[in-house]
């Protein structure tokens, strides 16, 4: 009745996972922190290379295309476009390995 083999709906067979629909405020705070960490890595690379007078195509592309954490809309920070989802958005925590991949851009208009 208790412990690892308790008879709850998710555990008694069937595909019933209780993944919350939206992120908690703590998850959102950590997500912002991770976005900022990536921004700081980009900034470090940029300043270090600029001092040496070198450029990197991939870095220039990233800077031109990707918004920083401050520039992103909350909608884009915590949700992602999904053509199958209702209103075309699902929580970013549904993305596999979502804490270790960059996902900043979404189709315009969605």
């Amino acid at each position: 009745m208790f412990g690892a083999f308790r008879m709850t709906n998710p555990l008694s067979g069937g595909l019933l996972w209780k993944i919350p629909w939206r992120l908690s405020k703590f998850q959102k705070a950590r997500q912002r922190k991770r976005l900022k960490a990536v921004d700081s890595v980009i900034a470090t690379l940029d300043t270090a290379l600029a001092k040496k007078g070198e450029t990197l195509k991939a870095l220039e592309l990233w800077k031109a295309e990707m918004p920083t954490e401050a520039e992103m809309l909350p909608k884009d920070k915590y949700t992602i476009f999904d053509r199958k989802a209702k209103r075309y958005r699902k929580g970013i925590h549904k993305v596999p390995k979502w804490t270790r991949v960059s996902q900043r851009l979404n189709p315009p208009g969605y």
Binding site: T44, E54, L59
Partner: protein
């Protein structure tokens, strides 16, 4: 010349082989490991591939692994005093036996411990074992 100080912050478990390969190429095998690479476009590109997993700083000079370890080792909270060469008089005093209740006794010739014990026993009227 400046260097990138790269620390693996997030593990690459379950990430694509290409990503793990980049970490291997950077010399990052375990979490919290720190490596140093010169500031070059080549290394910047490699860092860019794993930007979500690493923490990067620009430093003037690379540290040795021992220095990196010393950096994150906390203070022991104590220190061991080393015993320097003691003066001759102290050495002689330290060589004398200590009897509880009597304190340190004057120096005696080696091999006379038994005589000394019987002497003490006579003086105090108690059994003495040294």
């Amino acid at each position: 010349m400046s260097w990138f100080r790269i620390t693996l912050h997030r593990s690459a478990i379950g990430l694509p082989k290409r990503t793990r390969g980049v970490l291997m190429a950077l010399g990052l095998r375990r979490r919290n490991q720190t490596v140093f690479h010169p500031v070059e476009a080549q290394f910047a590109g490699m860092i860019l591939k794993v930007k979500e997993l690493v923490l990067v700083d620009e430093v003037a000079a690379p540290l040795t692994p021992a220095e990196v370890k010393a950096e994150r080792t906390p203070d022991a909270g104590f220190y061991v005093e080393t015993r320097g060469p003691a003066p001759a008089s102290q050495v002689a005093l330290l060589a004398t036996p200590v009897v509880s209740g009597f304190g340190r006794l004057p120096p005696r010739a080696a091999g006379s411990i038994g005589d000394f014990a019987s002497e003490v026993a006579k003086a105090t009227g108690r059994k003495v074992r040294l």
